[in-house]
């Protein structure tokens, strides 16, 4: 799934983002998001980091959760708001143009679930560290952090193969949009370091895409 870097092109024109993303990933991203959203229960408070056009946000709302979606891209948010209105979720979905650096303003232990689809790979190193700390703070004890993102494969042959596929795509994207994404190293380990317990990990066949379900411990005995 090295093609994720191409999404930066799609993002520059949100109107074609949703269609393009289905085509690029052959529906795999949709299925990954379905699996992540299946962990959400009715009535839960959910935060969607880097919600984009609202793919995960709407799934969470469909399961009966109250969702806040945040993103720094005003154009993508406009699209997300349209979709939420179209689906009739205006009462349970709230969108806000803000970055992860503003998570400090969210109250402690106020969310049951925090989701992040293809957001961590766009953050700088400082931002990722800050985000993991803040997510841990704003999650209720026992709350879930659900992540789906680009990853660096663990095994060397797969790592090289992924690089080979990704490199030309990244160059094209960079020339067109002057942006790129950064596949993340050892995300499960980083989550554990921050004190999250990993409930499940699912990797793509090439190991360049990872889905993680992790939990903030309930109390001291849990850690």
């Amino acid at each position: 799934m090295s093609t994720y870097v191409l999404m930066k092109i799609l993002e520059s024109a949100p109107d074609r983002y949703d269609r393009g993303i289905r085509w690029l990933t052959l529906g795999r991203l949709e299925r990954a998001y379905d699996r992540l959203a299946s962990h959400i229960q009715e009535g839960q408070r959910v935060l969607d980091l880097g919600c984009g056009t609202g793919a995960l946000t709407l799934r969470a709302a469909e399961r009966g959760a109250r969702v806040k979606g945040i993103d720094v891209n005003a154009q993508m948010l406009e699209k997300a708001e349209q979709r939420a209105r179209g689906a009739g979720f205006t009462a349970t979905i709230e969108f806000s143009e803000m970055g992860v650096a503003e998570l400090g303003n969210e109250p402690s232990e106020s969310y049951d679930v925090v989701m992040s689809g293809l957001c961590f790979s766009e953050l700088t190193e400082d931002e990722l560290t800050y985000t993991l700390d803040e997510v841990k703070r704003i999650l209720k004890p026992g709350g879930l952090l659900l992540v789906a993102d680009e990853a660096n494969p663990e095994s060397l042959p797969k790592r090289m193969l992924a690089r080979l596929i990704r490199c030309p795509l990244a160059v094209i994207t960079y020339l067109l949009t002057q942006t790129t994404t950064r596949a993340i190293d050892q995300l499960p380990e980083r989550l554990q370091e921050k004190g999250f317990s990993i409930l499940s990990i699912r990797r793509s066949r090439l190991e360049d895409f990872i889905e993680i379900v992790s939990r903030k411990p309930r109390g001291i005995q849990d850690e």
Binding site: A101, E102, E125
Partner: protein, 379 residues
């Protein structure tokens, strides 16, 4: 050793100037700062960071490098690649809040096109001070108690910068045309590359000679500043030139497909060089690429209360502010490059853009969608 490294980096990255070159973001400590030392911020374009660090030698301060996607501050801010979010992120996630007791950050003035001082302050508590345009003025700016002279607020286009821009254009075009010449005219590669360099240097270095006839609002400003979007006058001239070549070759009895190919290719390269967005390559003119976006800044005198932010951020010194009468005027409005910084920063929304069709573009639209997206919005 350090000097040599600095010179090499400057040469290499000037040749590749049209490409973004990112470097690591985050906090850099300069000298031996304490909790009262100034905090400065810039984008993560590698060449910028190198130059800023050099300008800060001998000072004790903190330098925050925000994520501008490897693009220089002005282009990144105008294009929506250096935003409120990137500045907020640098302030909140770099650890600077644990290092200093104050909450004042000096931003490059040219970031004012894309970063809203009021939003940054509301969301983080950090007060934004608009620093000078050029990093070289930072030490004097700090010495003067964060006051800017008019010269520190203004963009210039001295010969050093003109040489840089000539090299930045000549290098990629000469490489591409020399490679293409390998196919149609192998012997012509080197002369063609030299021709491209010669033309680029001539156009940029002689800029002061003809710039007095260029007007930012004037669209038909002379051959070298035409582009293909303007009705293709250069294509007509190119066609006429080629007819001349064919006629001459026929007259001399040397007409062949080879001759037409070679001269056609070489002159097309020349036309391409002359058709670049050269006005947009200068800091003193609005890009000539989008005639439909030739906007005009309009100042509403009834809404203006003389806050003076426009004067602080205008890179062309268009504004005068009467701080006693609380009123701004735009006596040098003809110099405007339509960067939009004054509109974005005005706390009373007294400034706005007006399109050629008379349509007003509200400040809120510019703040949200930045300049490069306005084109889509205006249609």
């Amino acid at each position: 050793m350090n000097e040599l490294r600095y010179v090499l980096i400057n040469i290499m990255e000037t040749l590749l100037r049209v490409l973004p070159i990112p470097c690591a973001t985050g906090l850099r400590v300069i000298g031996d700062p304490d909790e009262h030392s100034p905090v400065l911020l810039t984008g993560n374009y590698h060449l910028t960071v190198e130059r800023v660090r050099r300008a800060l030698r001998g000072l004790d301060c903190y330098l925050l490098i925000a994520n501008s996607r490897g693009i220089n501050v002005w282009c990144a801010a105008a294009g929506g690649h250096l935003t409120n979010h990137d500045v907020i992120s640098a302030l909140k996630t770099s650890g600077i809040e644990q290092r200093v007791a104050h909450r004042r950050v000096i931003l490059p003035q040219l970031a004012a096109t894309g970063v809203e001082a009021s939003v940054v302050q509301r969301k983080t508590g950090w007060k934004v001070i608009w620093g000078p345009v050029y990093a070289g003025d930072i030490p004097a700016f700090i010495d003067h108690g964060f006051e800017k002279t008019p010269a520190m607020r203004q963009v210039a286009f001295p010969w050093t910068q003109r040489l840089e821009m000539a090299a930045a254009w000549a290098f990629p075009i000469s490489v591409i045309s020399a490679l293409a010449a390998q196919v149609v005219w192998p012997d012509g590669s080197i002369p063609l590359a030299l021709l491209v360099w010669g033309l680029a240097l001539l156009i940029f270095l002689s800029f002061p000679l003809y710039s007095r006839w260029l007007r930012p609002e004037g669209k038909r400003v002379g051959f070298v500043f035409f582009d293909f979007g303007r009705g293709g006058l250069q294509l007509i001239l190119w066609g006429a030139f080629m007819l001349g070549v064919v006629g001459y070759a026929n007259w001399e009895g040397i007409l062949s497909w080879d001759v037409v190919w070679r001269w056609g290719f070489a002159s097309l390269v020349v036309v391409l060089v002359l058709s670049l967005d050269l006005m947009g390559s200068t800091p003193v003119y609005k890009s000539g690429l989008h005639e439909d976006r030739m906007l005009e800044v309009v100042l509403d005198e009834n809404t203006c209360r003389g806050a003076g932010f426009c004067e602080q951020v205008c890179p062309r010194n268009c504004f005068d502010v009467d701080h006693r009468q609380h009123r701004a005027t735009r006596p040098r409005g003809h110099l405007c490059v339509q960067c939009g910084a004054c509109i974005v920063q005005c706390p009373f929304d007294a400034l706005s853009f007006q399109s050629p069709t008379g349509e007003t573009i509200a400040p809120e639209t510019i703040r949200r969608f930045k300049l490069n997206l306005l084109g889509q919005r205006m249609k």
